[in-house]
């Protein structure tokens, strides 16, 4: 793995002046042209207290790509995903070893403010979790707290349109977000994440609570979103990973040193196509061909 030189902290620092901090411009300029990774994960281990949930993960997430994290339940996919926006900071016992570089900046550097990270790295959760507010207020919540000054109506429309939900809800923006169907709720959550104009969107099994038709909607949507955003998706559905992702990381759980718990390990990280047709690890092959056991 190529070690990327850590750049000085730019916009992630707490001391950033918000007034001049235009979201789109705040992304480092060179990313559009260079091959540089959005995230560079180096030898990452995640602990809950003494328990090491995941160990020694090394992978790179590239710009405007869909990266899938797959593997059996409990192998630490969610745990790894929640490191990318420092969501694990909310768990008192959680801590990491190793490095995650975000556009070359060490995400866990002491000066980095997790709130600034989360404004750039949005998240869609496994279970749709719209706020008990109107559809409009769900979408405008993020921009509002970030101090957005432009036309909120336009922003809400744009986000809902990008999330392929506008036509279904445009006549009832004042209704509660909770009144929508499960699939619509999840698209509302995606719109909500898009509205803060993030750089990356993390999705934790976004379709696991949805029926096949709603799942299809979301998968199509991800292909559209790929043009503007970098997406990392956790799924335990291999077909879904094969359908939507460019890169796939396959995790599994192995009995740990103390023989009492299972620790997640990254088995293989490769182009999705190669992963599913010609995996280099036997465990991957067993899993993708359904012989996992």
């Amino acid at each position: 793995m190529k070690r990327v030189q850590a750049k000085p902290l730019g916009t992630l620092s707490r001391r950033t002046n918000r007034a001049t901090d235009e979201k789109v411009e705040s992304r480092p300029q060179e990313q559009k042209t260079s091959e540089e990774a959005v995230f560079d994960v180096q030898d990452l281990s995640v602990f809950y207290g003494d328990f090491r949930a995941v160990r020694n993960v090394t992978l790179a997430v590239s710009q405007r790509n869909i990266t899938a994290l797959i593997g059996p339940s409990g192998c630490g996919k969610t745990t790894v995903l929640r490191c990318f926006n420092r969501m694990n900071d909310l768990v008192d016992t959680a801590r990491i070893e190793g490095n995650i570089l975000y556009h070359g900046v060490d995400l866990y550097e002491s000066r980095v403010d997790p709130v600034e990270v989360r404004r750039r790295v949005g998240m869609v959760f496994q279970k749709p979790n719209p706020f008990p507010k109107s559809i409009y207020d769900n979408v405008s919540f993020g921009p509002k707290i970030a101090g957005f000054k432009g036309s909120m109506d336009d922003l809400v429309e744009e986000a809902l349109t990008k999330a392929a939900l506008w036509d279904e809800v445009k006549s009832r923006l004042k209704e509660s977000g909770m009144s929508l169907s499960g699939g619509q709720q999840q698209r509302l959550c995606i719109a909500r994440a898009i509205a803060v104009q993030p750089d990356v969107i993390l999705m934790d099994e976004p379709c696991s609570a949805l029926d096949p038709i709603a799942t299809g909607h979301i998968e199509d949507l991800m292909q559209d979103l790929k043009n503007d955003y970098t997406i990392i998706i956790v799924t335990h559905n291999m077909q879904q990973a094969a359908r939507v992702s460019d890169m796939t990381a396959f995790f599994t759980a192995e009995v740990n040193e103390k023989q009492d718990r299972r620790t997640g390990v990254l088995v293989e990280f490769d182009h999705t196509e190669r992963m599913f047709t010609n995996p280099s690890d036997e465990r991957t092959e067993n899993y993708v061909t359904g012989r996992f056991g």
Partner: protein, 310 residues
């Protein structure tokens, strides 16, 4: 019917003795439920009957004049109603911010270890007998808070001290109900907000608080009911055991409905023999009951209306 089927039918019939037992148990529970309804209804009917007799005896017009002096046959309901409102108002001015603040802290900010330490303390405060708080109200709250900061020249007994004392009394109640409501807000909503780059403060104010609003309103209203019904603190710190002139001045002694009832019932006002004074007890009790009932109905309404919206 074949023999085999006949045997099955017999099995399926089960045991008549068990069915009889079931009926008896059901009957016992029905009787218990009915009894509590009958007792409540009897109390309310007795209240109404005596109250009507009281109003009939002194005349409706006499309920609106010159203060509350049962000994002299002067029954101005406004006096004690205003006394109750002043005490309750001051009580809630203390209890709502303190209680809701404590609830926000315990539910959103306190680390588990600190919460484990603080919750029992809250319960200890809730367990202080109200007569102790009453003593505390006139001996400490009055000189140190009411007289020093609010009045300057307060009487030894006054409604202000009683109000603050009542506020301290209901704070744990408000805190505990509101905290339950906020902790019931699913973690996933908070995570949704944090995931959008919200800080703790906006998450609490804009997500958790509105999501728990029905429980928070209920907490305040239950606190209010409790404040209205509180007797001991007022009887000790509010003064005016005998009677009271109409006044809303919280620096002066005053009488609340509960205080007036206590004075009447224990005979502190030396009216034991006076029939209409004795009956006024029922009348005030009825008003108190209606007030609390109204608040409970209101809180139910608010809770339902807010729920419907989301």
């Amino acid at each position: 019917m074949s023999n085999a089927a006949g045997g099955l039918l017999l099995e399926l019939e089960g045991s008549p003795a068990r069915r009889r037992k079931e009926r008896i148990v059901r009957g016992i529970f029905f009787a218990l439920a009915a009894m509590s309804v009958v007792i409540s209804a009897t109390i309310v009917l007795a209240l109404i009957q005596e109250a009507v007799q009281f109003v009939g005896a002194i005349g409706v017009g006499d309920l609106w004049q010159r203060g509350w002096f049962p000994r002299r046959g002067i029954f101005d309901v406004r006096t004690i109603l205003v006394g109750t409102l002043v005490v309750t108002g001051i009580g809630m001015l203390v209890a709502a911010p303190l209680g809701l603040g404590a609830a926000v802290y315990l539910s959103e900010y306190a680390r588990p270890r600190i919460r484990k330490l603080l919750k029992p303390i809250l319960e200890i405060i809730a367990g202080i007998p109200s007569i102790v708080l009453g003593v505390f109200a006139f001996s400490w709250i009055n000189p140190q808070i009411v007289d020093r900061f609010l009045c300057g020249d307060a009487s030894f007994f006054n409604l202000g001290a009683a109000g603050v004392g009542v506020g301290v009394l209901v704070t744990p109640l408000v805190a505990s109900i509101a905290e339950d409501a906020m902790r019931a807000v699913p973690m996933s909503l908070r995570e949704g907000a944090y995931g959008l780059g919200a800080r703790k403060r906006s998450t609490t104010v804009k997500i958790v608080f509105p999501a728990a609003i029905s429980g928070i309103v209920a907490a305040v209203i239950v606190g209010m009911s409790r404040a209205i019904g509180e007797t001991m603190v007022v009887a000790l710190a509010g003064g005016a055991t005998g009677g009271s002139l109409f006044s809303a001045d919280y620096c002066q002694p005053g009488q609340t409905m509960t205080g007036a009832m206590a004075a009447l019932a224990i005979g502190g006002d030396q009216v034991k023999g006076d029939v209409s004074a004795f009956q006024s007890l029922y009348f005030v009790g009825l008003v108190l009951f209606l007030l609390t009932l109204g608040l409970n109905v209101l809180s139910g309404r608010i809770v339902r209306r807010v729920r419907k919206k989301y």
